[in-house]
Amino acid sequence: MNKELEHNFVTNLEQNQNIVHKVCRIYTNDADSHNDLFQEITIQLWKAYPKFRGDSKFSTWMYRVSLNTAITLYRKSKRRIKTSDFDSTNFRITEEEYDDEVEQQLKLMYKAVKQLNDIEKALVFLYLEDKSYREIAETMGISEVNARVKMNRVKTKLKKILNP
Protein backbone atom coordinates (compact mmCIF):
# COMPACT_ATOMS: atom_id res chain seq x y z
CA MET A 1 0.00 0.00 0.00
CA ASN A 2 1.35 3.38 -0.81
CA LYS A 3 2.97 5.66 1.72
CA GLU A 4 0.63 8.59 1.20
CA LEU A 5 -2.44 6.51 1.95
CA GLU A 6 -0.77 5.18 5.06
CA HIS A 7 0.21 8.65 6.21
CA ASN A 8 -3.32 9.99 5.66
CA PHE A 9 -4.79 7.10 7.55
CA VAL A 10 -2.51 7.34 10.57
CA THR A 11 -2.98 11.11 10.76
CA ASN A 12 -6.76 10.77 10.57
CA LEU A 13 -6.82 8.06 13.20
CA GLU A 14 -4.48 9.99 15.47
CA GLN A 15 -6.86 12.94 15.37
CA ASN A 16 -9.95 10.82 15.92
CA GLN A 17 -8.54 8.21 18.28
CA ASN A 18 -10.93 9.21 21.06
CA ILE A 19 -13.74 7.33 19.31
CA VAL A 20 -11.78 4.08 19.39
CA HIS A 21 -10.70 4.60 23.01
CA LYS A 22 -14.30 5.15 24.04
CA VAL A 23 -15.43 1.96 22.31
CA CYS A 24 -12.63 0.13 24.11
CA ARG A 25 -13.72 1.56 27.45
CA ILE A 26 -17.27 0.33 26.98
CA TYR A 27 -16.24 -3.18 25.91
CA THR A 28 -13.17 -3.96 27.97
CA ASN A 29 -12.39 -3.99 31.66
CA ASP A 30 -8.64 -3.57 31.94
CA ALA A 31 -5.76 -1.83 30.25
CA ASP A 32 -4.44 -4.95 28.48
CA SER A 33 -7.77 -5.76 26.88
CA HIS A 34 -8.24 -2.09 26.05
CA ASN A 35 -4.95 -2.09 24.13
CA ASP A 36 -5.76 -5.42 22.47
CA LEU A 37 -9.08 -4.17 21.20
CA PHE A 38 -7.61 -0.82 20.17
CA GLN A 39 -5.04 -2.65 18.09
CA GLU A 40 -7.59 -4.94 16.43
CA ILE A 41 -9.80 -1.94 15.59
CA THR A 42 -6.79 -0.12 14.12
CA ILE A 43 -5.99 -3.13 11.94
CA GLN A 44 -9.59 -3.44 10.77
CA LEU A 45 -9.79 0.30 10.05
CA TRP A 46 -6.56 0.14 8.09
CA LYS A 47 -7.76 -2.88 6.12
CA ALA A 48 -10.99 -1.10 5.24
CA TYR A 49 -9.35 2.26 4.57
CA PRO A 50 -8.56 1.81 0.85
CA LYS A 51 -12.32 1.51 0.28
CA PHE A 52 -13.12 4.61 2.31
CA ARG A 53 -14.34 7.01 -0.31
CA GLY A 54 -14.81 10.06 1.81
CA ASP A 55 -18.52 10.31 1.00
CA SER A 56 -19.10 10.08 4.72
CA LYS A 57 -17.04 11.72 7.44
CA PHE A 58 -13.98 9.79 8.57
CA SER A 59 -15.36 9.77 12.11
CA THR A 60 -18.77 8.38 11.02
CA TRP A 61 -17.03 5.62 9.13
CA MET A 62 -14.89 4.95 12.20
CA TYR A 63 -17.89 4.43 14.46
CA ARG A 64 -19.12 1.66 12.23
CA VAL A 65 -15.86 -0.24 11.83
CA SER A 66 -14.93 0.18 15.50
CA LEU A 67 -18.27 -1.08 16.79
CA ASN A 68 -18.33 -3.93 14.29
CA THR A 69 -14.90 -5.00 15.45
CA ALA A 70 -15.90 -4.82 19.12
CA ILE A 71 -19.21 -6.66 18.71
CA THR A 72 -18.41 -9.12 15.95
CA LEU A 73 -14.81 -9.58 14.97
CA TYR A 74 -12.89 -9.24 18.19
CA ARG A 75 -11.98 -12.40 20.04
CA LYS A 76 -11.67 -11.50 23.67
CA SER A 77 -8.21 -12.22 24.96
CA LYS A 78 -7.78 -14.70 27.77
CA ARG A 79 -6.19 -12.03 29.90
CA ARG A 80 -9.48 -10.31 30.51
CA ILE A 81 -10.95 -10.13 33.98
CA LYS A 82 -14.56 -10.75 34.82
CA THR A 83 -17.03 -7.88 34.80
CA SER A 84 -17.60 -8.35 38.51
CA ASP A 85 -13.95 -7.59 39.13
CA PHE A 86 -14.27 -4.37 37.26
CA ASP A 87 -13.34 -1.35 39.22
CA SER A 88 -15.45 1.52 38.02
CA THR A 89 -12.89 4.04 39.24
CA ASN A 90 -10.78 3.47 36.15
CA PHE A 91 -13.74 4.68 34.17
CA ARG A 92 -14.68 7.67 36.22
CA ILE A 93 -11.88 10.03 36.83
CA THR A 94 -12.54 12.10 39.89
CA GLU A 95 -13.91 15.48 39.09
CA GLU A 96 -13.89 17.89 41.95
CA GLU A 97 -16.98 19.75 40.87
CA TYR A 98 -19.21 16.75 41.49
CA ASP A 99 -20.77 16.30 44.82
CA ASP A 100 -20.56 12.90 46.44
CA GLU A 101 -24.07 11.85 45.62
CA VAL A 102 -23.78 12.51 41.89
CA GLU A 103 -20.37 10.93 41.89
CA GLN A 104 -21.76 7.81 43.49
CA GLN A 105 -24.65 7.69 41.06
CA LEU A 106 -22.32 7.96 38.09
CA LYS A 107 -20.11 5.17 39.35
CA LEU A 108 -23.13 2.94 39.66
CA MET A 109 -24.30 3.94 36.19
CA TYR A 110 -20.99 2.98 34.59
CA LYS A 111 -21.08 -0.28 36.46
CA ALA A 112 -24.62 -0.91 35.24
CA VAL A 113 -23.65 -0.22 31.62
CA LYS A 114 -20.92 -2.82 31.95
CA GLN A 115 -23.56 -5.41 32.77
CA LEU A 116 -25.43 -4.91 29.50
CA ASN A 117 -24.94 -7.28 26.58
CA ASP A 118 -22.83 -6.37 23.53
CA ILE A 119 -25.71 -5.04 21.46
CA GLU A 120 -27.14 -2.98 24.31
CA LYS A 121 -23.71 -1.53 24.99
CA ALA A 122 -23.47 -0.48 21.34
CA LEU A 123 -26.81 1.30 21.55
CA VAL A 124 -25.86 3.07 24.78
CA PHE A 125 -22.51 4.04 23.32
CA LEU A 126 -24.08 5.61 20.23
CA TYR A 127 -26.66 7.31 22.42
CA LEU A 128 -23.96 8.76 24.67
CA GLU A 129 -22.16 9.94 21.55
CA ASP A 130 -25.26 11.94 20.68
CA LYS A 131 -26.05 9.99 17.53
CA SER A 132 -29.52 10.27 16.04
CA TYR A 133 -31.82 7.25 16.06
CA ARG A 134 -31.47 7.13 12.30
CA GLU A 135 -27.70 6.82 12.61
CA ILE A 136 -27.99 4.26 15.41
CA ALA A 137 -30.40 2.22 13.27
CA GLU A 138 -28.11 2.36 10.23
CA THR A 139 -25.03 1.36 12.19
CA MET A 140 -26.75 -1.61 13.76
CA GLY A 141 -28.76 -2.64 10.70
CA ILE A 142 -32.16 -2.36 12.35
CA SER A 143 -35.11 -0.06 11.72
CA GLU A 144 -35.35 3.33 13.39
CA VAL A 145 -38.51 2.33 15.25
CA ASN A 146 -36.79 -0.76 16.63
CA ALA A 147 -33.79 1.29 17.66
CA ARG A 148 -36.07 3.58 19.69
CA VAL A 149 -37.95 0.68 21.23
CA LYS A 150 -34.74 -1.08 22.15
CA MET A 151 -33.21 2.07 23.60
CA ASN A 152 -36.24 2.51 25.86
CA ARG A 153 -35.89 -1.09 26.97
CA VAL A 154 -32.23 -0.55 27.71
CA LYS A 155 -33.11 2.50 29.83
CA THR A 156 -35.61 0.38 31.77
CA LYS A 157 -33.05 -2.36 32.17
CA LEU A 158 -30.49 0.10 33.50
CA LYS A 159 -33.04 1.44 35.98
CA LYS A 160 -33.70 -2.12 37.14
CA ILE A 161 -30.02 -2.82 37.62
CA LEU A 162 -29.65 0.40 39.62
CA ASN A 163 -32.77 -0.17 41.72
CA PRO A 164 -33.16 -3.91 42.08
Binding site: N18, Q39, E40, T42, M109, N117, D118, I119, Y127, K150
Partner: protein
Protein backbone atom coordinates in the same frame (compact mmCIF):
# COMPACT_ATOMS: atom_id res chain seq x y z
CA UNK B 1 -33.23 13.72 36.08
CA UNK B 2 -32.81 10.81 33.70
CA UNK B 3 -29.73 8.82 34.75
CA UNK B 4 -28.65 8.30 31.17
CA UNK B 5 -28.67 12.06 30.56
CA UNK B 6 -26.45 12.49 33.57
CA UNK B 7 -24.14 9.88 32.16
CA UNK B 8 -24.12 11.62 28.78
CA UNK B 9 -22.86 14.83 30.35
CA UNK B 10 -20.14 13.02 32.20
CA UNK B 11 -19.26 10.96 29.11
CA UNK B 12 -18.23 14.11 27.26
CA UNK B 13 -16.14 15.34 30.15
CA UNK B 14 -14.12 12.19 30.41
CA UNK B 15 -12.72 12.66 26.90
CA UNK B 16 -9.88 14.66 28.42
CA UNK B 17 -8.83 11.63 30.42
CA UNK B 18 -8.60 9.22 27.50
CA UNK B 19 -5.20 7.82 26.54
CA UNK B 20 -3.40 9.57 23.69
CA UNK B 21 -1.40 7.48 21.28
CA UNK B 22 1.28 9.05 19.15
CA UNK B 23 1.53 8.89 15.35
CA UNK B 24 4.27 6.27 15.62
CA UNK B 25 2.37 4.09 18.05
CA UNK B 26 -0.62 4.01 15.71
CA UNK B 27 1.60 3.42 12.70
CA UNK B 28 3.17 0.39 14.41
CA UNK B 29 -0.28 -1.03 15.07
CA UNK B 30 -1.16 -0.96 11.37
CA UNK B 31 1.72 -3.35 10.74
CA UNK B 32 0.45 -5.96 13.20
CA UNK B 33 -1.56 -9.01 12.18
CA UNK B 34 -5.23 -9.28 12.90
CA UNK B 35 -6.54 -12.00 15.18
CA UNK B 36 -10.19 -11.47 14.38
CA UNK B 37 -12.80 -14.20 14.26
CA UNK B 38 -13.01 -13.85 10.47
CA UNK B 39 -9.37 -14.75 10.18
CA UNK B 40 -9.85 -17.78 12.41
CA UNK B 41 -12.91 -18.88 10.51
CA UNK B 42 -10.92 -18.63 7.31
CA UNK B 43 -8.01 -20.68 8.66
CA UNK B 44 -10.21 -23.33 10.24
CA UNK B 45 -12.35 -23.64 7.11
CA UNK B 46 -9.30 -24.14 4.92
CA UNK B 47 -8.04 -26.81 7.34
CA UNK B 48 -11.40 -28.56 7.15
CA UNK B 49 -11.38 -28.54 3.37
CA UNK B 50 -7.82 -29.91 3.33
CA UNK B 51 -8.74 -32.58 5.88
CA UNK B 52 -11.67 -33.73 3.79
CA UNK B 53 -9.55 -33.80 0.62
CA UNK B 54 -6.79 -35.76 2.37
CA UNK B 55 -9.35 -38.35 3.54
CA UNK B 56 -10.09 -39.03 -0.10
CA UNK B 57 -6.41 -39.06 -1.11
CA UNK B 58 -5.44 -41.36 1.78
CA UNK B 59 -8.22 -43.77 0.86
CA UNK B 60 -6.85 -43.92 -2.66
CA UNK B 61 -3.20 -44.24 -1.70
CA UNK B 62 -3.44 -46.83 1.04
CA UNK B 63 -5.29 -49.20 -1.19
CA UNK B 64 -8.78 -49.01 0.30
CA UNK B 65 -10.15 -48.82 -3.19
CA UNK B 66 -8.19 -51.93 -4.20
CA UNK B 67 -10.06 -53.82 -1.54
CA UNK B 68 -13.27 -52.79 -3.19
CA UNK B 69 -12.02 -54.21 -6.42
CA UNK B 70 -11.10 -57.45 -4.69
CA UNK B 71 -14.62 -57.87 -3.45
CA UNK B 72 -15.99 -57.26 -6.87
CA UNK B 73 -16.78 -53.53 -6.92
CA UNK B 74 -15.53 -52.16 -10.22
CA UNK B 75 -13.00 -49.38 -10.70
CA UNK B 76 -15.58 -47.33 -12.57
CA UNK B 77 -17.70 -47.17 -9.44
CA UNK B 78 -14.95 -45.75 -7.22
CA UNK B 79 -13.83 -43.27 -9.87
CA UNK B 80 -17.43 -42.14 -10.21
CA UNK B 81 -17.63 -41.61 -6.48
CA UNK B 82 -14.41 -39.58 -6.46
CA UNK B 83 -15.73 -37.41 -9.27
CA UNK B 84 -18.94 -36.69 -7.40
CA UNK B 85 -17.13 -35.81 -4.17
CA UNK B 86 -14.71 -33.60 -6.11
CA UNK B 87 -17.61 -31.72 -7.71
CA UNK B 88 -19.21 -31.25 -4.29
CA UNK B 89 -15.91 -29.92 -2.96
CA UNK B 90 -15.52 -27.45 -5.83
CA UNK B 91 -19.06 -26.21 -5.37
CA UNK B 92 -18.52 -25.58 -1.67
CA UNK B 93 -15.14 -23.92 -2.09
CA UNK B 94 -16.73 -21.59 -4.61
CA UNK B 95 -19.61 -20.81 -2.23
CA UNK B 96 -17.17 -20.30 0.63
CA UNK B 97 -15.06 -17.89 -1.37
CA UNK B 98 -18.12 -15.99 -2.57
CA UNK B 99 -19.46 -15.56 0.97
CA UNK B 100 -16.05 -14.77 2.40
CA UNK B 101 -15.61 -11.90 -0.07
CA UNK B 102 -18.87 -10.41 1.16
CA UNK B 103 -17.55 -9.88 4.68
CA UNK B 104 -17.00 -6.14 4.86
CA UNK B 105 -16.49 -4.29 8.12
CA UNK B 106 -18.22 -1.18 6.87
CA UNK B 107 -21.57 -2.97 6.55
CA UNK B 108 -24.11 -2.59 9.32
CA UNK B 109 -23.56 -4.87 12.32
CA UNK B 110 -26.44 -7.12 11.31
CA UNK B 111 -25.35 -7.59 7.69
CA UNK B 112 -21.77 -8.21 8.77
CA UNK B 113 -22.86 -10.89 11.23
CA UNK B 114 -25.11 -12.50 8.62
CA UNK B 115 -22.27 -12.73 6.13
CA UNK B 116 -19.84 -14.21 8.63
CA UNK B 117 -22.37 -16.79 9.76
CA UNK B 118 -23.23 -17.63 6.16
CA UNK B 119 -19.57 -18.23 5.34
CA UNK B 120 -19.18 -20.48 8.33
CA UNK B 121 -22.41 -22.32 7.54
CA UNK B 122 -21.10 -23.16 4.05
CA UNK B 123 -18.19 -25.08 5.53
CA UNK B 124 -20.38 -26.72 8.13
CA UNK B 125 -22.75 -27.90 5.43
CA UNK B 126 -19.87 -29.27 3.40
CA UNK B 127 -18.54 -31.28 6.33
CA UNK B 128 -22.04 -32.55 7.07
CA UNK B 129 -22.63 -33.63 3.47
CA UNK B 130 -19.21 -35.22 3.26
CA UNK B 131 -19.75 -37.19 6.45
CA UNK B 132 -23.14 -38.41 5.24
CA UNK B 133 -21.58 -39.33 1.92
CA UNK B 134 -18.84 -41.35 3.62
CA UNK B 135 -21.37 -43.08 5.88
CA UNK B 136 -23.56 -43.97 2.93
CA UNK B 137 -20.65 -45.39 0.95
CA UNK B 138 -19.39 -47.39 3.93
CA UNK B 139 -22.81 -48.85 4.57
CA UNK B 140 -23.58 -49.66 0.95
CA UNK B 141 -20.19 -51.27 0.37
CA UNK B 142 -20.61 -53.34 3.47
CA UNK B 143 -24.10 -54.42 2.48
CA UNK B 144 -22.80 -55.35 -0.94
CA UNK B 145 -19.93 -57.35 0.56
CA UNK B 146 -22.21 -59.19 2.94
CA UNK B 147 -24.96 -60.15 0.61
CA UNK B 148 -23.61 -60.18 -2.93
CA UNK B 149 -19.86 -60.59 -3.10
CA UNK B 150 -18.64 -64.12 -3.72
CA UNK B 151 -15.35 -63.48 -1.92
CA UNK B 152 -17.05 -62.93 1.38
CA UNK B 153 -19.36 -65.92 0.96
CA UNK B 154 -16.29 -68.12 0.53
CA UNK B 155 -14.61 -66.83 3.70
CA UNK B 156 -17.87 -67.24 5.52
CA UNK B 157 -18.35 -70.87 4.45
CA UNK B 158 -14.68 -71.71 5.14
CA UNK B 159 -14.82 -70.58 8.78
CA UNK B 160 -15.89 -73.15 11.31
CA UNK B 161 -18.02 -70.95 13.53
CA UNK B 162 -20.79 -69.45 11.55
CA UNK B 163 -22.04 -66.03 12.63
CA UNK B 164 -25.40 -65.06 11.13
CA UNK B 165 -24.97 -62.48 8.38
CA UNK B 166 -27.73 -60.23 9.67
CA UNK B 167 -25.96 -59.97 13.06
CA UNK B 168 -22.77 -58.74 11.40
CA UNK B 169 -24.84 -56.32 9.36
CA UNK B 170 -26.63 -54.89 12.40
CA UNK B 171 -23.36 -54.67 14.35
CA UNK B 172 -21.56 -52.86 11.55
CA UNK B 173 -24.47 -50.53 10.98
CA UNK B 174 -24.49 -49.39 14.60
CA UNK B 175 -20.73 -49.05 14.85
CA UNK B 176 -20.67 -46.88 11.74
CA UNK B 177 -23.54 -44.69 12.92
CA UNK B 178 -21.95 -44.35 16.37
CA UNK B 179 -18.54 -43.36 15.00
CA UNK B 180 -19.97 -40.81 12.59
CA UNK B 181 -22.35 -39.58 15.28
CA UNK B 182 -19.54 -38.92 17.75
CA UNK B 183 -17.49 -37.22 15.07
CA UNK B 184 -20.46 -35.04 14.17
CA UNK B 185 -21.15 -34.16 17.80
CA UNK B 186 -17.57 -33.14 18.49
CA UNK B 187 -17.62 -31.03 15.35
CA UNK B 188 -20.92 -29.44 16.28
CA UNK B 189 -19.67 -28.48 19.74
CA UNK B 190 -16.48 -27.06 18.29
CA UNK B 191 -18.41 -25.04 15.75
CA UNK B 192 -20.76 -23.80 18.44
CA UNK B 193 -17.88 -22.66 20.59
CA UNK B 194 -16.23 -20.75 17.77
CA UNK B 195 -19.30 -18.73 16.88
CA UNK B 196 -21.09 -18.66 20.24
CA UNK B 197 -20.67 -14.96 20.93
CA UNK B 198 -21.38 -14.07 17.32
CA UNK B 199 -24.54 -16.17 17.35
CA UNK B 200 -25.71 -14.61 20.61
CA UNK B 201 -25.28 -11.10 19.29
CA UNK B 202 -26.92 -11.94 16.01
CA UNK B 203 -29.93 -13.46 17.79
CA UNK B 204 -30.18 -10.36 19.95
CA UNK B 205 -30.30 -8.15 16.85
CA UNK B 206 -32.75 -10.48 15.14
CA UNK B 207 -35.03 -10.38 18.15
CA UNK B 208 -35.37 -6.65 17.68
CA UNK B 209 -36.87 -7.17 14.27
CA UNK B 210 -39.79 -9.25 15.50
Amino acid sequence: MDELELLKKDWKKQEENLPKLSYNEIYKMTLKKSSSIVKWIFIISIIEFLLMISLEVIARLNGTYDTYEDIGIGNGFTIGLSCISFCILLYFIFQFYKNYRKIITTDSAKVLMENILKTRRTVKRYVFINLSFITLILLSIFAYTLFYSTGFQEIQSASTKEVPTYLIAVFFFFVTILCVGILGLVYYLFYGLLTRRLNQNYKELKRLEV
